[in-house]
Assembly symmetry: C5
Homo-oligomer: 90 residues x 5
């Protein structure tokens, strides 16, 4: 589960019909710098820290194996506690 920040939105009018109805956000993994699009399943907003699943697991998140999605936001992080540092996003 990647720990990312939501940094933007992405719109595609011309797309696979099976993607209709999904909202795509741009997310960024602060550790690796990696940036990609993910289907939002939890109503995440810009600036929020989120949990991401990739690969076939993203299809489980969208609840339909035939939808061509390989990244999905599955949780909004309230608190992230790493070693001696504690970060609250609330």
């Amino acid at each position: 589960m990647k720990i990312c920040v939501v940094v933007g939105h992405v719109w595609a009018t011309k797309k696979e019909p099976a993607l209709n109805g999904l909202k795509f956000m741009v997310v960024k993994d602060d550790k690796s710098g990696e940036e990609f699009a993910a289907a939002d399943m939890v109503g995440a907003g810009i600036g929020e820290k989120v949990l991401i699943v990739n690969g076939s697991t993203a299809r489980r998140a969208v609840g339909a194996d035939e939808r061509p999605v390989d990244a999905a936001i599955v949780g909004i992080i309230d608190t992230l506690e790493v070693e001696k540092e504690t970060t609250s996003d609330k």
Copy 2:
């Protein structure tokens, strides 16, 4: 879903028969610099920003689990809005 730019075409005459009929484009992830081939499902053109799926999800995009494809273009990006910067490709 990788956010890539279409940068080229690739042709292979000698290939797995199950790949016949697919069009392969070369795409580049500007963030990571990564460049690879992807089956085009949406009629993307050179220079367009696109959404890419990888892995088993690409087989869902081509609609046939037995076709050996692990990357597919599933959407043409109209607008990409990242933080305070907005980019329109229209």
Copy 3:
């Protein structure tokens, strides 16, 4: 199986219902520097070295294919012996 160290906890109140009941830890791969969240299946604690599985295999670890989990802690490492160096975590 990634060899990681448990470095923290992560909490998400708003999440996919299928994630309820799972405990998520932050783990770090010391070799690559990569840091991500993983569902803990073995009661791992901060500072312990653990074995991680990713992708569809993490769904096997949580025992339910429809749960959107793509990383899981599946073992606590007692001893890690690498070439001429031996490290015991006991």
Copy 4:
């Protein structure tokens, strides 16, 4: 689909019985520098540019889901046209 060059051969006498009969080549992704072994399904030769599939898709390429193969050569590239540069391998 990774775009690689065939750079070598690899032989393993002691191996999983389900790998018998497959030919393994060493391939290199010139962009990333990554080098790995792939089962050759198309009769590729040293120095040829090829299309590679990875992961579960490689098992589709070898036509048997139970064979433990996660990389396969599925096409020999004739022409690779990237932006203003055109490369013909014929």
Copy 5:
């Protein structure tokens, strides 16, 4: 199929019951520097060059889809011939 060298052993007493009976080795990809644990299916020893499969393919190698394994050693490399250089491990 990653080309790795076996560099160590790893033991985990507290682990998912489905991992019982498997032997885990530490392997290193010399090209990328990546180091991880893999279930040994072929009796590989320290210092040997091996073929590794990752992801769902590793579950095919261990012969049981429900075992949470995402890396497995499936062959011991005898000879690795890369371009003008030939390396024999025999």
